[in-house]
């Protein structure tokens, strides 16, 4: 094996880690500003111009806060659980092509860490493994709220995983490949070839499942304050608590990339806008949608979520697959 590939992969991994971690941190600031805007408040204003440096203040607070481990907790697992969230979130990014190929000093860079043939499945599988983080955190905390949060994690995972898998099956049947690069190239013909026009139902279902997968608001039942204090994170403080949220925001970015690549034409250029700018626009719009929904929608109860996923979304996904199959034949 070539040493050049190893060095290139290490450099790519470090770049992805640092850029996405910075984006995840910045997303917390954007979230507070957007929510404030929707609720006719100002949001953070005091630290720096328009509160931009609030991010640094939050970071300092998280890193220097006392790290408390409860007395009756299962200590090794309690300490290890927060690490799972960012690790799985960043591992799943290994199979995502972030940008189109570009050339630096005569050397062609493909901005994907590892182009495995089963890209979509890998991303979804590893991202759903991230649900072990809240589960283990809740079960090891020796706290009833945390245990309830862990129990809700299980039903959340078992509900959304079926929907997201089945929703994705219909577009994959049309494309005939699981590699995200192939999926992107399928939509290369321009705006009208985007899969959202031929698979609107799959798009809708996948977005709903994405909200459930990232624990965003309509489905944030595993940490809903009014019912179970803070769910799995009740006993966490300081940087351990912060790791969960780096993982959550990294997952939001992953889901945004997946939706843009699979349904919204990926990094193909549109009109005069180059591909890299296009995908950044799509991702920003999707992150904004996440925040907008958080501001606009009420929570759902766990039983409502199970009812929605199993009795409405799953049959719709199956019907969608059936229709796609009939049309393809």
């Amino acid at each position: 094996m070539d040493w050049a590939i190893v060095i290139e992969t290490i450099i790519k991994s470090i770049v992805v880690l640092s850029v996405v971690a910075a984006m995840a941190g910045f997303a917390t600031y954007i979230e507070r500003k957007v929510l404030a805007f929707m609720q006719r408040r100002l949001g953070p204003m005091n630290v720096g111009p328009h509160g931009v440096l609030q991010l640094a203040a939050d970071g300092i607070k998280l890193f220097t806060k006392e790290d408390i481990v409860p007395q009756n907790a299962v200590k090794p697992i309690f300490k290890f659980a927060p690490v799972i969230a960012p690790v799985t979130a960043f591992t799943s990014m290994a199979a995502i092509p972030f940008f189109p190929e570009f050339t630096v000093f005569g050397y062609t860079v493909t901005p994907i860490i590892s182009d495995i043939n089963v890209g979509v499945l890998f991303v979804l599988g590893v991202a759903s493994t991230g649900m072990f983080a809240p589960l283990l955190a809740g079960m090891s905390s020796a706290n009833k709220w945390a245990l309830l949060g862990a129990a809700r994690t299980v039903i959340a995972l078992l509900s959304f995983e079926v929907v997201s898998g089945l929703a994705l099956l219909a577009p994959l049947m049309m494309i005939g490949s699981l590699s995200l690069i192939d999926i992107n190239d399928y939509q290369i013909a321009g705006f009208t070839s985007w899969l959202i026009w031929s698979q609107p139902m799959a798009f809708l279902l996948f977005v709903i499942a994405g909200f459930a997968e990232t624990n965003r608001t309509p489905f944030d039942l595993i940490e809903y304050e009014a019912e179970i204090v803070s769910g799995y994170a009740t006993d966490y403080s300081g940087i351990r608590w912060g790791l969960f949220f780096i993982g959550e925001y990294a997952n939001m970015i992953t889901v945004a990339f997946l939706v843009s690549i699979i349904f919204l034409g990926g990094y193909n250029p549109l009109w005069i806008i180059p591909g890299a700018i296009m995908i950044l626009i799509k991702i920003s719009a999707f992150i904004f949608l996440f925040l907008w929904v958080r501001a606009a929608w009420p929570h759902v109860r766990p039983d409502q979520m199970m009812w929605l996923c199993w009795k409405i979304l799953m049959p719709l996904a199956l019907i969608n697959i059936l229709i796609t199959g009939i049309v393809l034949i």
Binding site: M1, I77, I116, N117, V118, F122, G125, S128, M131, M139
Partner: protein, 184 residues
């Protein structure tokens, strides 16, 4: 070179994880180690170039172990050690050692006599690993595949039937009827 290093790392990690599963008395440790071990096994599939099976291993077992956690949560206090109720230690140990040795012999005998070979070598040009699995599943192994699907359907329907008695009536209504002394 890298494959060898990765193989030994994954083997050591897998063995340690499943060792914890067997020897730990805390159900939370055992289940977490089981989940970790299942994910490390997928590393072998990736090393052998079978990406599809590797990803399926991650997807299936993360969901399956998650369901196991749910049962563990219901049956045990997972933050305490389980008191094991063993009366005949000698019989238990000898039986488990014998079965372990038997499994090793069963698995390693064909390798030792060197007549293990794949029935469908994946040497078709220009066809990926995923496609070959599809080809084999829907030609050679079509009947076992469909039978497994039917069996899963049967178990799903029976599970729904077992649970769904009086599903049209919710629990508060049941209490209400019991207060009035009516038989449900």
């Amino acid at each position: 070179m890298f494959e060898v290093i990765a193989f030994y790392i994954f083997s050591i990690l897998t063995i340690i994880m499943f060792g914890i599963v067997v020897f730990s008395k805390n159900s939370l440790y055992a289940m977490s180690a089981l989940a970790g071990g299942m994910i490390f096994i997928s590393g072998f599939f990736f090393l052998l170039g079978a990406e599809f099976l590797g990803v399926v291993q991650i997807v299936v077992y993360s969901g399956a172990v998650m369901a196991l956690y749910a049962f563990g949560m219901m049956f045990f206090d997972t933050t305490r050690d389980v008191k094991e109720n063993i009366h005949y230690k000698k019989i238990l140990y000898s039986l488990s050692i014998i079965s372990a040795v038997l499994i090793v012999i069963i698995m390693s005998a064909p390798i030792y006599s060197a007549n293990i070979e794949s029935l469908y070598p994946s040497a078709i040009e220009g066809v990926g690993n995923t496609q070959i699995i599809g080809l084999v599943l829907f030609t050679k192994y079509l009947i076992p595949f469909e039978l497994a699907a039917v069996m899963l359907l049967v178990s799903m329907i029976s599970g729904i039937l077992l649970v769904s008695k009086r599903m049209d009536m919710n629990l508060t209504e049941k209490d209400h009827y019991e207060e009035k002394g009516e038989i449900i």
